[in-house]
Symmetry: C2
Subunit: 300 residues, 2 copies
């Protein structure tokens, strides 16, 4: 167990990263927080982080591991390589990449980390802000046995469930993308069903109640269609996030030459919603692409 | 409470009808079983039915209520009208129609029942054979207060949850159809996701485990994709049932001039599966429309 990391730099203190970082503090790890948002840095500092900064180079020699919880592969590349961080980390440092990215991007990042003798865990996460806050994320990871061993304290601190999908970098990314395929279609079809109910003069709160008590339910229906019933489109997760994630699904299918009739349709629905100006609203706002219906709290 | 029914004829002793009929026996109602299948009649008779027959006319004068649990509107019309049953029931008898049918069909059936002074409850059910067996179905019903009052002992005996959607016949049918929209798309997208996982060399049991522990889960994914993981396509509910139900969804949308991008796509997927010869297999066999993948227990 001498191998296990004692310190970790968490890059990206959004709702998921902040929860993961705090869980690591609680578990007794030396936590270093990195974000551009000074309020987030202050919050983590007060919670007990060893140090915080806008720039990871300030303490890169202190880190046994790095957890990257940013939005996309462009940001992953920026924080690891454009900043010079990868070059300044100790050889053998493990880098846990938990953004939702394509398998191809994951493999490219692994190659570039290897040039600096750094070890990658391809480790996307699921569960939302609430589970991140309690250290109960789901992590779907691929990588070497060494990477899993070294990161064990971090995985224990942040996750209720860790899946070891295999050695090959890219498998973790692919499992997460397939998960997002389901999540995205479930939101879009929830919207389609509730829109049809509105058109047929079924009260939406009653339709919601029926579905959530029957076999037509999904995790996303129950969580997101509540926002439609309440007429509350303040963003918990945004339409544009599913534009991004369903584009990753499409990229994966293109790479594998595989047809995806439903998720390609759902992507178009989220694109229509974004194009109509709802990109920064809650992802349940995809229902606003349907005309000729009245929705709670939505002016036409 | 003098109004409440004491006897009921249950027409259609498939998995749902048998469960409902037995629940009525257990609740102390006088139950009359009607089916073409003599084995089912014998089973219900041994369980304590008052009488059973292939022909409801044998005891139509004994019935305070009729519960129709057949497959489609054609069968509903046959058992109620072509047989002469409606004409032979006592005026004021309540007919609970629990098949999945269109709102338009429900209204037509109500009209014809009215000609014989019969009262209709538009009362589709959900929950599957297991919940029917324990008297825990979900019933989404519309109809007059009188119909609800008279049928109270039957609703209590068979359902864990009864939704009163309104007075107008057709609302119950519509809510059920919108529920089936979700159920059908959830099965089809479950198949799409698992097919992509197979193509990407993700072990399907692991993919199933990840999804069922994360936000991408649905009731149908958890129930039906287990059949794919096990390679067991023996029919619990068949592909052709969703061809029928998603066609009812399409009819409803056509009537309301409403676009349904995802469920129209899912209908085509089930149609492709039926056309390829899988119509009588479990509905999870919709995954067999994807080529170029290996599935557990499926020879190519």
């Amino acid at each position: 167990m001498a191998n296990q990391v004692k310190s970790i730099g968490v890059i990206g203190l959004g709702s998921m990263g902040m929860g993961a970082a705090k869980s690591c503090v609680t578990a007794g790890l030396d936590v270093y927080g990195i974000d551009l948002n000074n309020k987030a840095l202050q919050e983590l500092s007060e919670f007990g982080a060893k140090a915080v900064s806008n720039n990871a180079l300030d303490f890169s020699d202190q880190l046994d591991a790095v957890l990257v919880l940013v939005v996309n592969s462009k940001q992953v590349n920026m924080v690891l390589f454009d900043t010079g961080l990868a070059a300044s980390l100790k050889p053998g440092t493990v880098v846990m990449v938990s953004a939702t990215i394509s398998a191809e991007d994951a493999k490219n990042i692994e190659q570039k980390l290897k040039e600096h003798q750094l070890i990658m865990l391809d480790a996307p996460v699921s569960g939302g802000a609430a589970k991140a806050a309690t250290g109960d994320m789901t992590i779907m990871a691929s990588g070497s046995t060494l990477a899993f061993e070294k990161l064990q304290p971090v995985l224990d601190a942040t996750a209720a469930k860790v899946y070891n999908i295999g050695e090959q970098i890219g498998l973790g990314a692919t499992v997460k993308i397939i998960h997002q395929l389901l999540a995205g279609v479930h939101i879009a079809v929830g919207a389609e069903a509730m829109a049809l109910a509105a058109r047929a003069n079924i009260p939406l709160d009653l339709m919601y109640d029926v579905v959530t008590n029957a076999a037509g339910n999904s995790w996303m229906f129950e969580n997101r269609m509540k926002h439609v019933v309440d007429g509350d489109y303040s963003p918990k997760s945004m339409v544009d996030i599913f534009v991004k994630d369903l584009n990753l699904v499409a990229d994966t299918a293109k790479e594998l030459k595989f047809p995806l009739p439903l998720s390609s349709t759902a992507l178009n629905m989220f694109l229509s919603a974004s194009n109509a100006g709802f990109g920064q609203e809650d992802d349940s706002a995809v229902i606003k692409i349907f005309d000729g219906i009245e929705l709670p709290g939505v002016e036409k």
